[in-house]
Symmetry: C2
Subunit: 448 residues, 2 copies
């Protein structure tokens, strides 16, 4: 099967095939944040749906809470993890003997001990000087209590209350455990910042899952191209496929089956609208597909390593070149205008501003509220282990190399439909890379 | 396609087909918990991965945080939501004029306004006397801040600090917003308790997604039944299917494609182990399937309404009747022993105790630690909008009608493999119901 386009889709599964080396996260930025804040440790508590923890530990496991404690400082245990790439066993991976070194303890539920060791404990290939350790505890213990015990153990006795950095959304009960144990908490955005810039290994995962998203779109486009105009049981004009009226739910199942077959773990983020529901930004219901109406497919699967793809295309079966054709041309132009701005050092807002200005030039309201006609959302958002993360193309700050963002201008009319075109774009040293290209065109073509 | 067994699988998709009425949650238990605690309001803050919020609001939307505020008290707005099933427009849905009535405000991100109205705001069919309202705010606002503003607005001015009930894991930053706004917080387990007992509509959703889980197992069993014993490229004995050595990853893709085609949104919880990895409780890696070794399939898809299925079967291709046969017989006996205990009023622990005793009678260690040989986990856990929720079959408390639990005895040997058999069981008024039956047998048979 081909995902189409120039992205070089080889039909390879998202996670397997080439037997990818497991992803590991460099914890040095966390250690540095603790040191820069004059704090003593970093603590995160959450479950497998906490994307900060997923990123930091690569532990995909439990829907029970677990904890990560990171403490800066030289350790005596570095010799336990010799650098396999180094011929000199005494080679230092860090600049000075103390800087950037530390210990990281993952307090995992006992039932997930093996998985925690496999996914977090074995950090082969990471040379951040941080020694990793998995501690397992009984099911009844609260992760906040376990984290407090690990902090006390790692820091030892002290006159002053230990200062802990925590992510802002740490669970309140865990925060209370840590405070009652005598720690002082303050929040840090260090993890958000670290997550925004992707490593080469992360870009590789994003390309793979985005190619899978393209394969999903290709399936839907092929179904639409093979459909025919007829009527439904009530005699209304309807798009028919495989002997029955086509609906958004039938299309979604076709897309998700392709995603699952390619190794995507969570194919649940496929939003498909048809006609007026295409103007609903997150439509996951069941609507008939009608001739002449926009079919908007927003496919954002999550790969086995937790990274999301995000791609949108819009098609019309048997279109008559009315509103939807004008909208498509405008959105294509807005996409080009946005892409032309992307390079390191550019204020992120500029990208949204250019896309909005282009849509305005075509006569669409660039600041419409949701439910009104026009451009009702921002031009893009960061994508990584969260579907929405930093940076926002409507927010403060500058683009930097390694940022990965959607570029997704769209225009909507709640009475008619919607057109959106979305790609995933990595900011490179001198511009941008579209992570997996997929062709354009409002009339569906066979892609398989 | 047939899911096999007596469950009456009709091949129907999980969510569509019969055009299910949307699920709505009775908020009266939340109102009652606030009143019983002498508190003023209930507040929850989280994103779409917060299962308490998903349950309370049925709002599946944002990966940005949102908030729910519930305030007891009679409202003047009841007439805005006449009961469509009642011929008498003045009919009271509650016992007294004030009891059990209240207001619930969902503070949703503006980009998800339409979805919030659709999924939360329209509570047709719920007669809990709670008036629902959606308020939308800009992307930049913090959900904790929005919740604090809604609390102040709903409660009005007061001499005393408002007392708020919150779930224990409310995000710490939201808790701080609420406290700084002058509220006093205490935690409640009312939502956990309410979630444990399923309504008929919830049982219907659980049956549907469990039938899909059975269809996934049926696909894997059919692949195994159609496989043949041969060798891999290294000349080692291997199970081969469709011209290539079969692996756990290939099997998982077959299972997940079936799940996706049936409308399951999250097919990502399919754990398949083969040989020694079958003893790893949460194995999602890629291992070759060898003749004579256990293949353990644990399939726990999430349906479109958020409810999970959870089913495990174990097969051996070309088995020789050794360890795995003895383990299978023991686990089947443990399953029967556990099921025989299930009825309302029975201490949950009894169920685990009987299963463990049966395994011990067959010579397996009933209290093995993970990584050791024997029974390494509890006999079951509640399942609903979380894959693991109350009650636990190893925990305190009694079984009650409406509880839905897994029954999943298993024995493992890290050097050999593992056998687990798992079904989803609802506690009924006089016993139990297996939500979707699936046949047993260690030798795979064609099920499609």
């Amino acid at each position: 099967m081909s995902g189409g386009g120039d992205g070089g889709d080889d039909g390879a599964p998202v996670g397997g095939g080439a037997r990818l080396r497991p992803l590991r996260t460099d914890l040095a930025p966390v250690v540095e944040a603790v040191e820069a804040a004059g704090a003593d440790a970093f603590v995160a508590v959450g479950d497998r749906f906490d994307d900060d923890l997923r990123y930091l530990t690569r532990f995909a496991g439990p829907d029970r809470t677990y904890a990560l404690v990171v403490v800066p400082g030289a350790t005596d245990e570095r010799e336990e993890r010799p650098n396999p790439d180094s011929e000199d066993p005494d080679r230092e991976d860090v600049d000075s003997e103390d800087a950037g070194t530390g210990r990281a303890v993952c307090c995992a539920p006992a039932l997930f001990a093996e998985q925690a060791h496999r996914e977090f404990g074995d950090a082969a290939g990471v040379h951040d000087g941080v020694v990793r350790e998995v501690r397992t505890e009984g099911v009844g213990d609260h992760a906040g209590e376990r984290a407090a015990a690990a902090v006390a153990d790692l820091l030892g006795e002290s006159e002053e209350a230990p200062a802990l950095l925590v992510p802002p959304s740490v669970p309140h009960d865990a925060a209370v455990y840590l405070e009652r144990a005598g720690n002082e908490l303050s929040s840090t955005d260090a993890v958000t910042t670290a997550r925004a810039r992707k490593s080469d290994a992360e870009l590789d995962r994003l390309r793979r899952v985005q190619r899978a998203a393209g394969a999903g779109i290709a399936r839907a486009e092929t179904v639409l191209a093979g459909s025919e105009v007829g009527s439904d049981e009530a005699g209304r004009p309807a798009v028919r496929w495989a002997g029955a009226p086509l609906t958004t739910e039938r299309l979604r199942r076709e897309v998700n089956a392709v995603l699952a077959a390619r190794g995507v773990r969570d194919a649940g983020n496929t939003a498909i609208g048809a006609g007026p529901s295409a103007a609903d930004l997150h439509f996951v219901g069941d609507e008939p597909v009608r001739p002449g109406e926009t079919v908007l497919l927003d496919v954002s699967p999550r790969g086995p390593d937790g990274y999301y793809g995000d791609m949108t295309r819009t098609f019309v079966v048997d279109g008559d070149g009315g509103w939807e054709r004008r909208a498509y041309v405008a959105v294509e132009a807005a996409r080009e205008a946005a892409l032309a701005e992307i390079e390191p050092g550019v204020p992120a807002k500029t990208v949204h501003g250019e896309a909005a200005a282009e849509l305005a030039a075509y006569g669409f309201d660039p600041n419409a509220a949701e439910g009104e006609a026009g451009f009702t959302h921002g031009t893009g958002h960061g994508v990584g282990v969260s579907l929405h993360e930093a940076p926002s193309l409507s927010g403060a700050g500058e683009l930097r190399a390694g940022h990965v963002v959607t570029v997704e201008p769209g225009v909507y009319d709640p009475d008619v439909g919607g057109v959106r075109l979305e790609d995933l774009v990595a900011v490179t040293d001198d511009g941008y890379e579209i992570l997996a290209e997929y062709p354009f065109g409002i009339a569906p073509e066979k892609r398989e």
